[in-house]
């Protein structure tokens, strides 16, 4: 594969439920192998929509999407590439639909045609990588919020995707789970796009940050030169300014 060709290429992509207020408008985007990109933008600006377009869960009202150098037009086009891109949903309860953890993590590999044994092996390895050894027989709904998030991530990683799309991966999590996710991302050396409001997290995991304005992605190099200088008693408390 030509390393210089983007693996995700979007040209003039629009999306909206009504013509008067499109969510995405004339969006261009190139994503190359090895890229680690953060997106920081207000709620409702179309970040999640962007991920769903890449996965083919919704179809653009105009524009072209090319993924792994193949034009994506039909459901069948997307079905062919979906297992190569891992989307982590905002709500882990949407992602974990099996009653037990092992079945959930093995679901992707089994759908990809792996044998039962291989699927179970890779699932166990993935769970171990995320510090979830012994979780395989746990009942999904009884997990804590943080555990659910990690298992969701395991269901994606077990498919060994080439690109990860992470939608607010740290939201609502405790510090321990946050650090497991951050560490996992740093160790894997994968290509990914992360939607987050957490600047520190994006700084430590991504190379560049984009923002969204008027339905388009715009580069935002300034975010990393961000002067950060304030002192107060809440060093350990996340806060906005």
């Amino acid at each position: 594969m030509n390393q210089k060709e983007p693996i995700i290429k979007m040209r003039g992509v629009c999306f909206g439920y009504s013509d008067t207020a499109p969510i995405l408008k004339d969006l261009d985007f190139d994503f190359y192998k090895g890229d680690k990109i953060g997106i920081i933008a207000p709620n409702g600006s179309g970040k999640t929509t962007l991920f769903h377009l890449i996965m083919g869960l919704i179809k653009p009202s105009c524009g072209d999407i090319e993924i792994f150098q193949a034009p994506m037009k039909t459901e069948a086009d997307f079905a062919d590439i979906r297992h190569r891109i891992g989307l982590l949903f905002q709500d882990a309860d949407d992602q974990l639909f099996c009653p037990t953890v092992l079945e959930d993590v093995a679901f992707g590999p089994l759908n990809m045609g792996k044998s039962r044994k291989d699927a179970i092996d890779i699932s166990r390895r993935t769970l171990a990588f995320l510090g979830l050894t012994d979780f395989e027989n746990r009942i999904t709904f009884k997990l804590s919020g943080g555990e659910k998030k990690l298992v969701s991530l395991a269901t994606i990683l077990s498919m060994e995707p080439e690109v990860l799309l992470l939608d607010e991966p740290l939201m609502g999590l405790d510090i321990k789970t946050r650090s497991v996710i951050t560490r996992a991302l740093m160790e894997m050396n994968s290509s990914y796009i992360i939607i987050s409001h957490n600047i520190n997290f994006l700084e430590s995991t991504t190379h560049s940050t984009l923002t969204m304005r008027e339905g388009s992605l715009i580069a935002d190099d300034q975010v990393h030169v961000h002067v950060h200088d304030h002192a107060h008693v809440h060093g350990d408390v996340p806060h906005h300014h």
Partner: protein, 252 residues
Amino acid sequence: MIEEPFATGNSAVHNIDPRFRVIAAVVYSFAVALCYGFVPLITAFAVSAVSLLMCRVSLKKVLKQLALVNGFILLFWIVLPLTYPGGATYPLGPVTIHQAGIAFAAKITLKSNAILMALIAFIATMTLATLGHTLGRLKVPEKLVFLLMITYRYVFVIAQEYQKIIKSIKIRGFRPKTTLHTYKTFAYVVGMLLIRASERADRVYNAMRCRGFKGTYYSLTDFQADAGSWIFLIIVFGATTAVVALEIFLRF
């Protein structure tokens, strides 16, 4: 609000192969359901009670559940003695009590509780996830098992959403009464639950598609029957045969 109070435990019964427990429960329950004699029903009641004791589950919870379930049976105790003719009669004010009615109500009570205790002992001692896997292994249609698994998985998520809506109507001063306003409020709560369920269904379906769902649901759980499971099955079948024999030969 929803829990499986007896599902986890480490008794001899909890460790028996779930397939054997389901088969035993079905065969035994139907056999008891077909009995009408006092001797077989008392025997069955005793067998079920002993099985239940062997599960070492909280007897307080069991009795509470049985008390709730016997509510419908109470109706038979009130109506049958007055309307079921036969046997001796005892005048009670303006009405007459029939002995046969009392006997019949007693038999229903024995039978009902025997079957319920067997259900608790053999099946409520596994989670619904295990039951789903078991039914899959017992050749129940795959679609039905898949449906059971999804329903079970999301009952808890939706129960949480329900609790949140209930909190919201509470903090706005809602107190249920027999009024149209109350019924309308509950109808809206139901409607909201359905809409949220529908939205969630779309998201879950998307998540399934992202993981390459092609219409197959895989179950990875294997069961292994050890000697204990076989002994259990033999004992339950033996007890079932005994109850049926008593019904045939000793019915009165």
